[in-house]
Amino acid sequence: MNNKLLYILVLVCALGCKQNKGELFVKRSANDTGITFENTLTETKDLSILDYLYFYNGGGVAIGDINNDSLPDIYFSGNQVKNKLYLNKGNLQFEDITENAGVAGNSSWNTGAIMGDVNGDGLLDIYVCAVVGLNGFNGYNELFINQGDATFKESAADYGLDFESYSSSAAFLDYDLDGDLDIYLLNHAIHTQDSYGNAQIRHKRIYETGDKLLRNDNGTFTDVSEEAGIYGGVNGYGLGIAVSDFNQDGYPDLYIGNDFHEDDYYYLNNGDGTFKESIKEAFGHTTRFSMGSDVADINHDGLPDLISLDMLGKDEIVLKSSEGDDDIQIQKLKTETFGYHNQYTRNMLSVNQPNGKFLETALQSGVAATDWSWSALFGDYNQDGEQDLYISNGIPKRPNDLDYINYISNENIRSKINNTNLVDQKALKMMPSGFIGNMIFKGSNNLQFIDESKTWISQDTIISGATAYSDLDNDGDLDLVTNNLYSPAEIQENTTNNKANWLKIKLNYREKNKFGIGTKVFSYANGIQQFKEMYTVRGFQASSEPLIHFGYGEIYNIDSVKIVWPDKSYQTITNIATNQTLYISPNQNKAFDYSNLHTQKQLLFKKALNNLGIDFIHVEDSYSDYLRQKLIPYQMSDRGPAVSVGDLNADGKDDIFFGGSKYIASQVYVQEDSTFQQITYPEIKMDSIKEDITSIIADFNNDGKNDLIIGTGGADFFNEMKPLTDSYYISSDSVFTKKAFPEMFENTSVLIKLDYDHDNDFDIIVCNQSISADYGNRPNSYLLKNTDGNFNITENPFNQLGMITDAIVTDFNNDGWEDLLFVGEWMSPKFFQNNEGKFTEIHPLENEKLNGLWQSVISFDIDGDGDQDYLLGNWGLNTKFSTSEEHPMKMYYGDLDKNGATETIVSTYKDGKDYPVDGLKELSSQLVSLRKKFNSYSSFAGKSMEDILGENMLPNAEILKVHTLNSGFLKNENGKFTFVPFSYKLQLAPIMSFLEFDFNGDNKTEVLAAGNYFGVKPYHGRFDSFPGALISNNNNITLANKIGLDLIGKSIRNMNIIKFNNNNYILLTFNDEAAEVYQILKP
């Protein structure tokens, strides 16, 4: 180690290591508490990470009051060391009573530990999972039945719970609502990760690895997995389990997190003893290496939200030296050939929606990357009324280190591994360690989580796994207990105490389920709802104290608390003082009506019957930009289809033109009396080789009949290939004939019509987004003057205008001559003023540093002050991209290595430097010389763009910038414009399209915003979480899934209003999806 670094470390230690105090949590050492349990692993030549893939997953922790003295006691399970039970003596003093209690356990490898009242006697029993039948591990899952005198009797066999399988954890739930507690046993696979195999192998049940649903039949447990529809295959790497009534129908559902390529399972309880696995229907994407998880209502809507953990590094060096997401082709192979769901390597925060789907917001929420994470526990740790989040972290050895995989391991392993099945200690030692601190995030009311790890808790580098919360000292706040590897278990005392108000609820439910597992509690205070469910198994391999805890900040009085018991009876308690513990038993027979939780606001949209006969399905051709331009930040080839609504057959009714992608013909639907009918115009259909991105229907030759112009793109054809040229068809009689049009070879994004020269015909502006195989170059857009229906470029004010994505005609100076506003990627909105037929760029932005990845624009008076503001759709904040005005995201563009082809490298700013988004593997696939400059991943990790490109390549780069990723609006203040970002709800994904209409019949127009985009590499995931939103004004924004439109998981390209039989409909056209029609139901 470098000496300087050593000094710094020593200094940091001297100042910090003794400091066990964070602002919120104080660590209590073994000396203070008497808790000396330490989960120490002993590696042998037959047992290490090589022999057992979950060697480092750690033990469990369960908290509950085993002797009913109101002091929660703690049970730790150890992998190889004996389990321990500590009796809480008050004041955070604990006594080891393992010996007398008889709970040390006999299995050779223990995993999760949970407490629950298995036999319904009101006493908490302990269930300890074990891995048996691998690596010589013996034993079985042990059930310690509480005898009521602080002793336990191991009785697993009597209850039918003595499984000899590969268990990681288990959870209690009453899935059939028969009043007793059933068990879901979580097992893990050891199946090879060498080959994925078809996803269907999950249907073939394997005893050792398959999860099990165990029904409690009067005290013995029956495996009902098969009949209940629970998967139990050889490939279920079950590590995470969360129980919750996700769909609020009264029946508990399950979320099972599976490691590696196996999908997570989302089991919705059918209420008849069976479950329906629904991950693909409800979740757009999930964690890939799924670890622990937790559930809580983080946004006060009464629906449980979910976090599932993964292992994405947050530190730049870890990030660049670790194996990351799949290559895009492998990802496709997994999803399209093998049948797996979209999975990405980062934490996922899935926010539950009323229509049964989830929005995933981890990137926007700030909790996507917490490194090698095990347990997530939501809790209102600072008692401000918002759910905070604690995440335990660390791995002794990072087996996904790229240098280890590619370089170091070989020299130490060579053929040995195959012959002796063992790597010597030397090889293991060369694997970098991952001793990283735990993290804590402060919750808020806008889905934001603020990292408070450096303030709320003391930082250490201990490896913590299983974690549980409990009010150990009965002072009203939630304390935390972690089971650590190679280091004593820890108690973190919460010192919030009475600085903020709280309420604890302990339930006393009916016989067989005294602790009220499955009970729901709604709290209402100051108009804010909070919602909690009584499930103790949370986080990872652990169970927390059976306790409902709420924080209230400054509020002293709670308006009401509603308790909904598992049998659906409920009671309401009103006017409750904070800072007390309520003990509640059922006292009402009123049945709770779950449908009340699902009443929606007034619906504005309804799916049109039969889609009005419009059965257009857009099919994107299979071209992938990344095969040719390996480093571009997103695709250019998926920006279609074109859609235009207009009267094509001169019958006065709206018809529809849908463009096709490459080699796929466009389609025309004409409106008849009762339906739309597809018809063919041969001349148009013949041009199917072209990819139609945008189109426009209007009478261009002033003959009284509408003509059609199609803008072509697709980014596949290149140079001056004919399929890149745009098309112009004029209608004559009942056919369309092709007409000459200026040849332009850029990828077109938008066509604009206007009469810029006031000669009473429509002129055209062809806006272009990119040049094929040369992404980063600024294409020309063109002004086409109309002379008697013929278009010509006379002079062009729009050379090198930029990567235009959208443009509108708007007379912003109100002089009767239509002006233009262009938006695009890596550029600021551009205003062109029409001075009686001459365009000049003007600069009315108060701040010119407004480069974005702009996707869409519309004019709308959003602040209701009578002038036109401009709404701008941008990339959004739910992304790995990041930027700021001071430290913009950059794109280095040019022929960096002078081999005749241009490339782009995108960088974002972190701690004083610009770092590439891509890693060495990706960059060197385009710039081979980087492999010579950096012959190991560690030599590359942590290098800035300047270091990487160096003086050889840096001068070859033009640098493009993005200052903001926020969608927002340009507020018009007397012709000057200031940018105002939208609220967080409109930042969930790129906004691709706006549509203005009076949707709610209030005689004022609103704007519907829609988006989502999937043309990115697996590293970026999938922007599928924006349901669309109705913008009435800046303070009144409603997500569209609350008013009848469901746009989650679909990537919109166009929205059009269609008039049909005196009703208004909205036509939604998506990329690579079927078009949808909704009726606008305005009163």
Binding site: L53, Y54, Q193, G197, I405, E411, I417, S624, N935
Partner: protein, 449 residues
Amino acid sequence: MKKYACILLAVFLFVNCTEKKQEPIKISPDDLHNSIDHVIDIMIHDIFSPPVASRIFAYPNIAAYEIVAQTNPDYKSLAGQLKDLRPIPAIDTVSGINPQLSALIAHMNISRQLIFSEDKFDVLQDSLFTKWKTMNEPEFEASKAYGLKVAEHIKEWMSKDNYSQTRTMPKFTVDTDDQARWQPTPPAYMDGIEPHWNKIRPFIIDSASQFKPIPPPAFSLEKDSDFYKELIEVYNISNEITKNGDESEEVAIAKFWDCNPYVSVTRGHLMFATKKITPGAHWIGITKIAAKKTNSNFDDTVFAYTKTSMAIADGFISCWDEKYRSNLIRPETLINQHIDENWKPILQTPPFPEYTSGHSVVSGAAATALTSIFGEDFSFEDDTETPYGLPIRKFNSFNEAADEAAISRMYGGIHYRAAVEVGVGQGRKIGALLNSKIEMKKNSSLAHN
């Protein structure tokens, strides 16, 4: 007294330095062998795919050979014989240049450019340079200057072989809709490597497709089709020899010729690679064995390496041309899909289409070249793979070794019979063209066995 001692010591040192004898630098064939071995070690570390590795062997050898051909009347320059290669700068015979030293330095210089880990290369180069400089600085400097000049000349030629352009050409597009087409294979599911290798300028053949092989049997899953029979043959052979265990001759043959530079191993979150030399490097190793066995001198050794490495390089160009033309699916994919989902080949399937077998083609090409140099019945003990824990195998001729290398791919479960049999023939045609078209040794008597 101390002062005098110091002066004495200084005088002694001075005298010692100035009077040091300038011995002539002798370059032995082992110097070249050692350097190539060192480059091979670095190539293993850096992980070069087999086609790219073949290019790393060829150009340094040609540079060395061209210098040898300047001064050794037995050898004829390749300039004018290889596409676009112009004569290297003439050697100045009066300036004290040691041509063999120049040849070795040129060889090292180009090798260093072609590998990634220069730091590892410099360990050897620095120590050699220091040694030579100490032995005879003027001779070293003169030879080095000429060697580098030639290296520049060859590098200029090398830079126009389309290698850098192919780096940014499109990645291979996997066609998952057509079940006959190649798909990435377990466990790493890597992209198809070097889909544009047929655009690399060849050395001997006039185009990548000059020896375009007959197409593979038409894809069919009908039980009585030729294709299916070949598929099931791979499966049956594999099962049979697996049953006989690791000790069986066929398993030994498969493992001996594995020559996979990157075998990915996954154990849970733990991943690593076991890395070996490439097929080309194996045949370079056999060249070394033959050269040593015949006590070939430096010039003859350079010749042997050069000729063999050109055969190997063109073998890859020709083979890769066919691979991405027929784009045929690997047995592992089909067997897992249609016959046995748990079947694994004995060797890990390498990441490119099946037809023809690369190892078969280059083995055929290299063996033909080596036979022309060292003779038909040249027996040898092949210890090339001993550093990777594999045994020595004995062969009675290069062709016998080539045939075994070819069939090993079937035993390994990664190729059908057609790819192996057609492949080795494809390689032999390239070797035969090399022997007939390219004139290198003027007095073409065989080296002594």
